[in-house]
């Protein structure tokens, strides 16, 4: 076998590792091992390209850059709190897109035209959009800019114009075969316009819809990596990028379904002034029943089955640990406690699962919506902590911003206890009928403080 054969075999091995990594995620038991297999695949790929590529220069510089990247990435990845995970993933996604765009940019003059040049330009545009879009996503999630949709004057025109411009200049580069004086300048214009398009694409998306955007931008970066694989004639990049593109696309579709509205309304709703407008404001004068932590403790103590419905409010209040303590105390008294997780609870698909897992909640107590919904009718108490829209029965009626979104059927339980900071409506800005039901009790206050008080009251019983 020639050296090239060995190199190709090593790339194949690495690609198989990536497939196994994704396959491992089918169960929490095999997931961690899967991820390590993926990391091994990546290591094999990097070693292979360094030792197996004929005529590769600047190796010390490259190794230095790898060390720099590692030194930056590892401490950040180790230290980020679990609530901050979505923005970190967005940022990692962005730098990946940026790297793909640079790689493709440098390949433009070497492709010799044809389909490889088209693939290069595609990578430059999509990678740049992914980079700047991810940065804006990061800023929104980190709340360095407002989480409300931002719509500039003439926004759709600027967005369409920048996108069309980057495609137009790409065509100009293609017409020159990617070579010749002036072509690099044209390529830079392509990059600048694509960066602008990425920013304008994400700005009008509201905070609650940002998870979908992360997923979509992840797919974008995957596709740009796949295209750069085509340009470089590298099968590994092609396979890995395509896998990510496929997974990101699928996840984006699943999330849009979980939110009950088409992707286009999520992404461009604010531009049309539609979906984020909100419905009727909260009617503050309607009577609600509020209770003290002691009342809630008694209610829980005599329940035989309790379902906790957590929302992002729980994570913001850092209440996940004390909620687990509450569940432990109840379990010790023979009360069955499970968690009902809505697919879009949190700020990323499955984010709530990660946050609860961090608090050592066993994953077999975390029940998905389809599994938990039939159980509400036989449940004594439902604790809704920092969630609102995902339990709002308004979703079952037409004409509200959340109409059609599948919800947790909390209203079928014997008793519903809402832990809320105030009567403020949820992210969708609509009143929640559930709050006024006769079997609903409200416990006002910070989620962490409230649950702590309930735990103490419960221990005193």
């Amino acid at each position: 076998m020639t050296k090239q054969n060995w190199v190709d075999l090593a790339y194949l091995l690495s690609a198989v590792c990536f497939i196994l990594a994704l396959k491992g995620l089918s169960s929490p038991k095999s997931a961690r091992r899967g991820n390590l297999i993926g990391a091994a695949g990546a290591a094999i790929a990097v070693v292979t390209v360094l030792v197996g590529t004929e005529g590769l220069a600047h190796i010390p510089l490259i190794l230095g850059a790898v060390v720099v990247g590692t030194v930056i990435a590892v401490p950040v990845a180790r230290q980020v709190p679990m609530t901050g995970m979505p923005q970190l993933v967005a940022l990692f996604n962005g730098v990946g897109g940026g790297a793909a765009a640079i790689v493709a940019l440098l390949e433009i003059p070497r492709t010799g035209g044809g389909f490889a040049l088209i693939a290069s330009l595609f990578t430059v545009v999509v990678g740049s959009v992914s980079f700047s879009g991810s940065v804006v996503t990061f800023l929104k999630l980190q709340e360095l800019i407002t989480t409300r949709p931002i719509v500039l004057p003439g926004h759709p025109i600027w967005f369409a114009g920048s996108l069309a411009g980057s495609v137009g200049f790409s065509i100009a580069v293609f017409a020159r075969g990617g070579v010749g004086a002036g072509t690099p300048l044209l390529a830079v214009v392509v990059v600048v316009l694509a960066l602008a398009a990425g920013v304008l694409f994400v700005l009008p998306v509201g905070g609650a819809d940002v998870p979908i955007v992360i997923s979509l931008l992840n797919a974008f970066t995957g596709l740009s990596v796949a295209a750069s694989g085509y340009v470089l004639g590298n099968v590994l990049l092609l396979v890995a990028g395509t896998l990510v593109g496929a997974s990101g696309t699928l996840l984006t579709r699943l999330m849009a379904q979980a939110m009950g509205r088409p992707l286009t309304s999520t992404l461009f709703g604010a531009l049309r002034g539609g979906s984020t407008a909100g419905g009727a404001g909260p009617s503050l004068d309607r009577p609600v029943r509020s209770a003290s932590p002691d009342d809630v403790a008694i209610l829980l103590n005599y329940a035989s089955k309790v379902i906790v419905v957590p929302g992002y409010g729980l994570a913001v209040a850092q209440a996940q640990h004390v909620v687990r303590e509450l569940a432990d105390v109840l379990a010790a008294r023979g009360v069955e406690v499970i968690y009902g997780i809505h697919p879009v609870a949190g700020r990323m698909p499955g984010h709530m699962n990660v946050l609860l897992a961090e608090a050592n909640v066993p994953y077999d107590q975390l029940k998905e919506m389809d599994e938990v919904n039939p159980q509400f009718a036989t449940t004594d108490v439902v604790l809704v902590i920092g969630a609102n829209d995902v339990v709002n029965p308004a979703a079952r009626q037409p004409g509200t911003p959340i109409s059609g979104m599948p919800i947790l059927d909390v209203d079928q339980a014997q008793n519903v206890v809402f832990l809320k900071r105030s009567m403020r409506p949820g992210f969708a800005g609509i009143d929640n009928e559930l709050l006024y039901q006769p079997n609903t009790t409200l416990l006002f206050g910070d989620a962490k403080e409230s649950v702590t008080k309930v735990v103490n009251a419960l221990k005193a019983l």
Binding site: K23, N35, T70, G98, L105, L251, V354, E358
Partner: protein, 92 residues
């Protein structure tokens, strides 16, 4: 490999991607996104190739920037995914 061969690989990879990911449980969607994110960090291979064949200072500088960014994506992605998955434990 070029042309139709690469296209063949691409199409097959799309099917594998959909097939494998559709089996991932919703509990693990966040690690899936983060793990997939780490996998596209393999653009590092591309970044190393363009830097290794760079012919002038500007190309080297851009290539090295791509190497740094891709390394952050890949290494950070795998580390953060591992941290997440470490927490998913069964009932003790």
């Amino acid at each position: 490999m070029t042309g139709i061969g690469l296209l063949t690989v691409f199409v097959l990879a799309v099917f594998i991607g959909f097939e494998v990911v559709s089996k991932v449980s919703t509990t693990l969607h966040t690690p899936l996104m983060s793990g997939a994110n780490a996998i596209h960090g393999v653009i590092l291979v591309g970044a190393i190739l363009v830097t290794g064949f760079a012919t002038n200072g500007l190309e080297i500088a851009l290539g090295l920037a791509a190497v740094v960014l891709a390394t952050i994506n890949m290494v950070g992605g795998f580390v953060v995914t591992d941290r997440m998955l470490e927490m998913f434990k069964a009932r003790r």
